[in-house]
Symmetry: C2
């Protein structure tokens, strides 16, 4: 059986398809504790590439990396009321060390706002100390009932940015800058288009004044929250007494932000691009960009010689691998397709005779014959084209699946049809909760600026009262 035959077709069972793809491509396997996963080399390398790119973008904004502890006293988490309400049910508690019970319960960080705030309250005195722009790459733990590889796991890897500013305006601007950076990163590096906007109060981060979000559309019509940036206002500053002397010599509470993306992005790029043959990786983060696949090399030494020559020439410019496994061409092709490498170069005895190779692009599986002397110059434009076409395809999918509605019947029909719905809404958490129960759809975001304004006299699709905002709804992960 070829490997991809072990993948359930996505049209048949999307959830099963997803699990098959992540396992068969050896991105991950399950850990022994419920909801934990092991990142195998391909999966970890994907995260490492995402990390390297984002980290350099953060640094260009003047952000410094730090590392705060995994553990915090439980009482810290309880200082900001909304924050503890949001996180308490998911928090893992350490009560024992060796054979000794601890005097005070310690929790494993589900996020680190309170640890940073406790530090900031000691560190900050004057406006001259501000802004502070910190970030950490870390593991966090949130115990979830239902888990799914990369999308929702008990432990996950992420970055969490924490910044402190002297004015509300500066903090809000910074929070917006970061959500825009995420949006551009998803588009330019992962080939994932997103909707972006603000969360409603119900969907907001526990403790934030405003949560900005980027929402991607998966192949099954569900939305995936892919990155968030929070304007925290002075909520945590009050809870942790973080004051500074402003330029007018008065004591004032600071203004804060926090923002993060996680290994969930791996789930996003899989469910946005991959297919029934396995992974389709966006070239810019693919651990291997080009795989060279010699065919019948055991019987044709010239095939191996030419393959190795090409490998040497390409690996200086591209992340290149040569597949020296001793299997038939069909098996090898399928095994490489499953791993999602953007470009495969097949070199067989017949190709060599014609001074040619066969280039197969993973996104479309289209083949082209290229003269061996021209391969080197063909790769770069081809990688660019693959990225662009993947983005174009995903963008079309997103645009084709947004439906505007004016009443609840239309809404229910569209949600049932797995669409993202844009609808005029009265914006009230009680309504949102009811809609969620009745249709499984949740508010994804309120668009920014004019796009959030309903037409004059527009009515809320649900309550028929005057509409306040245009809001995106969808079923979501």
């Amino acid at each position: 059986m070829k490997q991809h035959e072990r993948i359930t077709p996505l049209e048949k069972d999307f959830a099963k398809w997803y699990t098959d793809v992540v396992k068969q491509s050896e991105l991950m396997t399950y850990g022994p504790v419920k909801g934990t996963i092991i990142f195998e080399p391909l999966g970890f390398s994907l995260w490492d590439n995402i990390k390297t790119i984002l980290d350099s973008q953060f640094k260009k904004q003047g952000v410094n990396n730090v590392y705060f502890p995994l553990f915090m006293p439980k009482r810290f988490l309880e200082k900001e009321k909304d924050h503890i309400e949001g996180f308490a049910p998911e928090v893992a508690t350490v009560t024992r060390v060796g054979d000794t019970e601890l005097d005070e319960a310690i929790v494993v960080r589900p996020t680190s706002e309170v640890l940073f705030c406790n530090y900031f309250s000691d560190k900050i005195n004057s406006y001259k100390d501000l802004p502070i722009l910190y970030n950490q790459w870390a593991n966090v733990v949130r115990w979830e009932k239902t888990t799914r590889p990369f999308l929702r796991t008990s432990e996950f890897l992420w970055q969490e940015g924490h910044t402190v500013h002297e004015s509300a305006l500066q903090a809000r601007q910074f929070a917006r800058k970061m959500i825009k950076m995420y949006r551009k990163f998803l588009q330019d590096y992962l080939a994932i288009p997103t909707l972006f906007g603000k969360k409603t109060p119900m969907e907001r981060f526990a403790g934030a004044k405003t949560t900005y979000t980027v929402e991607a559309l998966m192949k099954d019509g569900k939305a995936l929250q892919s990155g968030t940036s929070h304007y925290l206002g002075q909520n945590f500053a009050h809870a942790f007494n973080i004051k500074f002397q402003n330029s007018k010599n008065k004591l004032e509470f600071v203004y804060q932000t926090s923002w993060g993306v996680s290994t969930r992005l791996i789930g996003a790029l899989i469910m946005c691009h991959s297919d029934n043959y396995g992974l389709v990786l966006p070239p810019k983060v693919a651990p291997v960009e080009v795989v060279i696949m010699p065919i019948f090399a055991d019987k044709h030494p010239l095939v191996m010689e030419k393959s190795q020559e090409l490998f040497k020439s390409l690996k200086r410019r591209f992340r290149t691998k040569i597949d020296l496994t001793n299997k038939g061409p069909g098996y090898k092709a399928a095994a490489n397709e499953i791993k999602g490498t953007p470009i495969r170069i097949e070199i067989g005895p017949r190709d060599i005779a014609n001074d040619e190779v066969t280039i197969v692009r993973r996104d479309t599986l289209k083949k082209e014959k290229v003269n061996i002397s021209e391969v080197r110059d063909r790769i770069k434009p081809l990688l660019t084209d693959i990225h662009n076409q993947m983005l174009a395809k995903a963008t079309k999918h997103l645009e084709d699946n947004i439906v505007e509605v004016t009443n609840y019947d239309q809404f229910k029909a569209a949600i049932k049809d797995n669409k993202i719905v844009l609808a005029p809404f009265g914006c009230n958490s009680t309504h949102e909760e009811k809609i969620k129960i009745e249709t499984q759809a949740t508010t994804r975001c309120i668009p920014i600026g004019n796009a959030s304004k309903p037409p004059v006299d527009a009515k809320c699709f649900y309550s028929n009262k005057k509409a306040k905002k245009m809001i995106y709804f969808a079923k979501a992960y």
Copy 2:
């Protein structure tokens, strides 16, 4: 008060000096949970530089990065008898999630051999799957009674390599290759010379057949174990039933290694190089290599202009910072010295008039006047010289402090005098334990090869029986 005046002289109280240096230089501060620390930007950046260099060296050996979970079932840890004995007292246990008690106790990894082994037992079938060379960069938790920043903390950052081989020879060779890589890294990048060799059974990693170690000497005469590489033999393979079909078609247990260095290296480089003025950072890992310090720039616009020009020209080639704080020259010099930047360039009005700058090297605090047009070419050789002199000084310190003894009186005198002692020994854990109680000295390592052989007819310095090995002893962290 200048910042360095807040540092206790190292001759007066070494432990206090160390804590003063790490705090005043803003490498770290304490976390709210006992024994945890916060890595501030300077401290984290130091670790990040160490990580980047080592990671690329690992990859050249064919090692792949992975990420295994933070949590494991407690019963996993109990599968290898020596392993659990070694780690049980330090292990943090999660017993509760939200308000729910867990059915099975989960521990926070103190190290991950057992998680990797559980994975290997599923993954490995044939000799064709071997070798497997994995590494992860992760946080681990070991609850220690006495903690000290970087040296011994409840949570620390490290890398742990885990490899699987088809023969004892290959595994042992790999374990040795890694300890040699650590030794070379400490020398070439951290300017730290080390003794290296094998641990005695008493000091061995819990579950290993052989532990190789590199031992550095701190300024107070104590040794610091700075990196270890373990040949695990088939101990864990038996406990976790990791078998493979060998090339002769027979089922056999695999052979394994594990190896690691941690954020303890930051402690090593501080206690090896720093002084009463603060940090002295080895140039190759220093977050900033060159700091430019304009003097009286507020009154002399030309000073600022020339400083900015130099900054632009240097930052393309070196990690360069310009100090624009609004303080007097003495304060600024001290503040930069405390942070250990290898080269400081002072530019004042008088320098400018002579087309000169003053270059101060941090290791010796020596100053030289350099024509401004020659600065760019002076930096590289100066950085090299600083590294070399730091290494030479540390090497002399190490060599000057090794004493060979033949009897216990000499031994006690030398240990009391904070020396490393090389002595012929009968090699028995009961003796070792007694010596430790009587003198605080522990065995650091048995040298490799001929150096481990005592002279013919040499007697054990402690028991007076026939000596088996030459062994290094010292007081240690």
